[in-house]
């Protein structure tokens, strides 16, 4: 059965002035806002006919550049935004017609949600409140809160206030709030943003093991390609409000990359050398300079990796470059992303 069905969803919203932190809204701001709305400043087309399905128990990832519409899509599925057209169903419930019923089946964890916690309540007290909102009794909510804090590694700080947490810990608290509800569908916007490597590893490990064990359906977004590749059963690539590709990581790699990737790290490699490298039989070359241009990382995508590797090393050395490192590897999702969005 499909846990989530998204059919031909469109969403545009009017352009408004956004208020950043530090904006002092005058008392008559409502006058300005009303006039602004009457004038009409055009629309932002956030979603243009998005369609896909996610099976029960599947881990589904949405990736794409900033402004692709990932968060808008997540919010539409999570009943935080009403789409203009189209149909969205979660566990058989139409999210537009039955929003409250649908919300009982969905947990949304947004990036930055930690800011919404009450800073005058302890972590446990904050989580108890969310447990109550999902229908737990007081004692159930309390024991669930303590259990979840243990899972995310915050049990020692259970009686502290959110203001005392580091940014990584706050992100873990956001996730804890998400896990307390135990709904069949989870929507998580960037699960490991702000976490240190160990913390991120723990969260990914938890998602990989627990979600599969419990049979939860997860839709998440991320900017870390290796995270998407590690966790997701299928990945959707979005750009400018549309889904341009869907498939498993392997399917996407096979579709977009026929060949392997040569990783080279070298010194004193300049534009003339890059031109020469481009003239070889390669599909794509990406390069990143460090230390003011002294060091370069090259990623060369080619169907003849070993042949091209030899030629590339020859070119670098003949132009007085120094080789630090060279290797041939299988392409990753990050390479796919770079090919699509170059």
């Amino acid at each position: 059965m499909d846990a989530v069905v998204v059919e031909d969803v469109y969403k545009r919203y009017p352009k408004y002035k956004r208020y950043g932190p530090g904006t002092a809204l005058g008392r008559a701001h409502w006058v300005m806002a009303t006039l602004y709305r009457l004038k009409g400043r055009g629309y932002v087309e956030a979603l243009k006919g998005v369609s896909f399905k996610v099976s029960e128990g599947e881990i589904f990832c949405i990736i794409g550049p900033n402004g692709a519409g990932k968060t808008t899509l997540m919010k539409c599925i999570g009943v935080m935004l009403i789409p203009d057209k189209g149909y969205i169903e979660v566990v058989g419930i139409d999210v537009v017609k039955n929003p409250l019923r649908a919300k009982k089946k969905i947990t949304v964890v947004g990036s930055g949600y930690w800011a919404g916690f009450d800073w005058s309540l302890t972590l446990v007290e904050n989580l108890i409140l969310f447990g109550l909102m999902y229908g737990y009794s007081m004692s159930e909510a309390r024991s669930k809160a303590k259990e979840i804090l243990d899972v995310v590694g915050l049990s020692e700080k259970a009686n502290d206030r959110p203001s005392k947490l580091s940014s990584g810990e706050r992100q873990r608290l956001s996730l804890a709030r998400g896990f307390i509800a135990e709904t069949p569908v989870f929507l998580i916007d960037e699960p490991t943003v702000g976490l240190d490597p160990e913390g991120a590893k723990q969260v990914r490990g938890y998602i990989k093991s627990e979600f599969k064990k419990q049979g939860y359906t997860l839709i998440f977004t991320t900017h870390f390609m290796y995270e998407a590749e590690y966790l997701a059963d299928r990945i959707a690539i979005m750009d400018r409000g549309k889904i341009i590709e869907i498939g498993s990581p392997e399917e996407l790699k096979l579709k977009f990359i026929r060949g392997k990737v040569i990783d080279i790290k070298a010194l004193n490699v300049y534009k003339n050398v890059l031109e020469k490298l481009r003239s070889l039989d390669v599909i794509n070359i990406d390069y990143f300079y460090r230390f003011g241009g002294a060091e370069v990382n090259l990623k060369i995508l080619t169907k003849k990796p070993y042949e091209i590797l030899e030629e590339a090393i020859d070119i670098i050395l003949s132009h007085r470059g120094s080789l630090i490192y060279a290797d041939v590897r299988e392409p990753t999702l990050e390479d796919v992303y770079r090919i699509i969005f170059r």
Binding site: L81, G112, G116
Partner: protein, 286 residues
Amino acid sequence: MGLMSNLRVAYYLVRREFKIWTYYRVNFILDIIEVLIDLVVMAIIALASRDVVAPKLSVYGGDYLSYVVLGLICNRILSMAVNAPYSSIGRAFWQRRIELFLSSPLNPVFLVSALSLGSIVRESIMAILYLVAALALGLRVSSLGLTSILAMLLGFTACLGLGLMSASLFYLLEAKAGSDPLRWIINISSRLFSGLYYPLEVLPFWCRYLALLTPHTYVFDAVRRLLLNGTSEPILVVHYILLADPVLIDLFCLLAYSLISVLLGYFMTKSGFKIALKDARLSWWS
């Protein structure tokens, strides 16, 4: 969500409100004292002038101290009902909580009410403190009858309806800066034209028409007449038009006000949230 679940959430939100309120302890004590200062200041002025102004207050029993102090207590309760819904949404929005709360399966109108409940309970405690202070300062009232309680309840309901309407403007009109046009008008009207600090006879006669705008006018009139052994002399414009007992007229007006304002408030709040969800204006990060 069942009734018990909703009640648990409401209870916890009230508890949370108290925790927030008392988090900064010194500020908490000073806030209480500051709130009582208005009462003390007016009481001092009233005590100094009560003998001289007594004849002008014969409709309301003649005691200026009791007149003004009772008005302040009622005003406190009514203001709480008007302000609580808006300030609850405003706080949840600016403290970035609204998205968190609304991502849960709580009905949005229930959520606003539950968030407001904390403020209402807190302000009720303040109103009781007000009453104790007022009694200590010399407030003299006859026994609290059912009619005066009814007048207060109807006034409270009417003001709560106005509060919901005002809260809906947070999204309907983008009135996000702590001030919406509805409450602005109500505050002006209640301060100047409702008879809070002085009887309406002090004002030009045309101001009595403006007095009809707010439920406060009817509540002050009814409660003062009932608790201060007032007379049946007509004061408000509606008293002259409807020609019945002034207190009955006040109750009737409050009842009509309550029905209209609560219904309007409910639908406007629902619409406000719907529009916010549609236009991606629900939270700071929409």
